[in-house]
């Protein structure tokens, strides 16, 4: 995560609820102010009590500084239920040209984005779903850094928030993913912690489509499964977020 240069270092080490409070005072952009004012649950809150939002971006590449967001999918959820009636999906116009390679992956074409809004036009809608919720992603090095850079560019200030990474949980559960030399000889494959492969381990269905919303839903389902298999509804959120 990127540091907010305007804040003293001390703030960064505060527990998240206090950080949000401090940031709500220093933030200038109304969307960010509202985001921090909505607050953050304390780290000892049971995961079953935590309002969450699964978030997924499709991007033109992997570098937050060099690539852009193409689409955003999100779905608010709790341990009990993933609420499709609050699911959202937007296509946004990237600042940088689309690469053919990423087009074949996420299926969003030049025609789709030519009429799409800039991220700044939909920020309020996006934050309406994020406020007061803990963000859940699969692979933490995309959504948070991309959002931070995008906001730096448009609002001139970045964003900080804790998040739960279902891929990090899988990595933690499978520390020795590479099979030993002998097992490799026997044909054993390394354990994959990619979204689809991780879901398979919990008997979750395969989704044919790849878009930001489906992946967000898939991530939310995966977290529900992970908690039920390896943790408990009482697990404090502080044990899970990064």
């Amino acid at each position: 995560m990127s540091d907010n240069q305007s804040l003293p270092d001390a703030v960064n080490t505060l527990p998240w609820p206090e950080q949000y409070q401090a940031l709500s005072e220093s933030a200038k952009a109304p969307v960010l102010k509202a985001f921090y004012e909505a607050g953050c649950v304390s780290e000892d809150t049971a995961i079953s009590e935590v309002p969450m939002v699964a978030l997924d971006f499709e991007t033109t590449g992997l570098e937050a500084d060099a690539h852009s967001i193409v689409s955003i999918g999100l779905v608010p959820f709790t341990m009990d239920a993933i609420l499709l009636n609050q699911a959202k999906h937007w296509i946004v116009r990237p600042r940088l040209p689309l690469h053919q390679v990423s087009v074949t992956f996420h299926g969003i074409t030049h025609a789709d984005i030519s009429d799409a809004p800039d991220l700044s036009e939909i920020l309020e809608d996006v934050f309406a779903s994020l406020n007061g919720r803990i963000v859940v992603v699969h692979f933490r090095h995309i959504e948070r850094p991309f959002l931070n850079v995008a906001l730096q560019y448009r609002l001139n200030e970045g964003i900080r928030f804790p998040l739960i990474d279902t891929m990090a949980i899988e990595a933690h559960l499978h520390p020795n993913r590479q099979p030993s030399f002998f097992k490799k000889l026997a044909g054993e494959k390394p354990t994959s912690i990619r979204l689809g492969d991780s879901r398979k381990r919990y008997g979750l269905p395969h989704y044919a489509a790849h878009n930001a919303l489906v992946d967000a839903i898939a991530t939310a389902e995966l977290l529900q499964a992970q908690i039920q298999h390896h943790f408990s509804p009482e697990t404090p959120v502080g044990d899970l977020w990064l």
Binding site: L84, N85, G203, A209, L213, A220, Q228
Partner: protein, 628 residues
Amino acid sequence: MQAELIDIRNHLIQHAPFDEMPEELVNELTANIEISYVRAGTQITETGQTSTRMYYVRSGAVEIFRRSGELYNRIGEGEIFGQFGLLMRGQVRFPARALEDSLLYRVTAETFHYLFENDENFADFVEIEDRSRLRSAVSRREKSNALMTSRVNRLISRETVSAPTTVRLQEAARIMTDQGVSALLLMDEECGGTCDRERLVGIITDRDLRTRAVTEALPSETPVSDIMTTGLITIRASSYVFEAMLTMLHNNVHHLPVIDGDEVRGVIALADIVRYESQSSLYLVSNIFHQQDVKALKKISKDVRDSFVRMVNEDANSHMIGSAMAGIGRSFTQRLLELGEEKLGPPPVPYCFMALGSMARDEQLVVTDQDNAMILDNSFVPEEHDEYFLALAKFVSDGLAECGYTYCTGDIMATNPKWRQPLKVWRDYFTDWIENPKAVALLNSNIFFDLDGIYGRTEYAEELKALVAQKASSSQLFLTLMARNALNRTPPLGFFRTFVLEEDGKHQKTFNLKRRGTAPLSDLIRIHALACGSQAQNSFERLKSIGKTKLIMEDDLSNLRDALEFISIVRIRHQALALEAGEEPNNNVRPEDLSPFERSHLKDAFQVVSNAQKFLRFRYNSQATRHV
């Protein structure tokens, strides 16, 4: 609905009742789903809880319990539960527990009631339990065929034309010509003043006038009673048109007096029914009797398959199709016997030609071999008479083979001397099978317990039916062994309500709808029918007579009827599709060739078969001997 949710919608619309839901409603449903992952063993709903959701299993499996704690059902992918509690706007009726790790789509009460108000099909589906669901699947099909919804009295277009039995031939012919009818009902007026109404005693038709009066050059003043047909086959006015058709097919008559209580309401003719079913299989039957040799019969036998496909496409039910096909097969046999007698001369002693198995049950389809036998008069002397009967049996059997009814691989044909015997020997056969039963022997003689006399002295066959009905019900060991044999073939339903598949000849994973569906069903129905002394042969008729005895509860009987109808019709449709595609029809079905509707209801139907087999085992104290 967000377009990106299409994956979720597409899963829903593969399964009933969402497969028939209007698109905008499915979209609305999808947009309001709540997804929830539950680990195996999780209690999803508990008795006493307030019902707030209906659940759709996206993946995994869920067990539903009765309040007593007894397992009620297993729900798999694409199936729903929790609807009953919502309907009663109250408490959870059947608690549910995840059997496997499952992903559930929850439908809120609000969405549920919205769908319920706006989609009649959805409302029907959730209001009834799975077995009643099977019933509605069956009746929905039947509703679409006019033959099954119209009653016979609607076919009567005019006043009854009748005359006293005392009229002369010439007068009868004049009445028929003046009135423009092809049949004249004949009434007995001499009831000694004890009744105020005439009694129907006979009928005379155009054909009778031509064949009996004109060709034999009878004097025109001959009383009509000399040539009229008595012992009339009639039909009740409240019967359905298809029942009239079946009656005509079964008895090879072209006119049926319609009776309402004691009163004669009129006559319906073959032509009246043909107006309902434009290319009736009745046509084919009457055509069979006009063919003059085997070659000509073979030629029209090509129409049998067309007739079958047509009935399927016209949404006829399995009883109609099975009876029509049996009627056609019976007519081929009867015509061949007539031709054989013309060729070989009249029989030296009386005999009865007997159909066995599916033809006797009126449950024949297109892929069928011939199963038949001869009951000869007790005066039969092998040395003097058997040459004739062997020649006749061979003529019929070869002729049937020409017409597409392949030889019986088990050699159950009248050409086999063992099955060409006088009545007294047949009585001994049946007596021995019933009173000294042996499991293996019964396995081979099972087919003889579906029998029907189709030509000649059919009363011999009736005598055997009566013998079986009388003896079978009192031989406990016979019933036990028959039941044991009937349990050898189980429905193809796995633990999780999945289909259990076998590899067929072409190395495809299939299940056999006959061996694992209709055959186990007709087997177990036969045993109950024998146990209650019924002489009916058709499975649906047998269920009716079982119903009169309270041997099986009314509800279970309807379930059996629906299961038989549904499995049969899926099997029939499967064969019709093969015929239309120019392929050879068979009984092996791949699950992926079935519609989700068929898959779901087949599972319900197989569950009924499975439960009925459990009851059979319990009722007759039988364990299966082997599994095939």
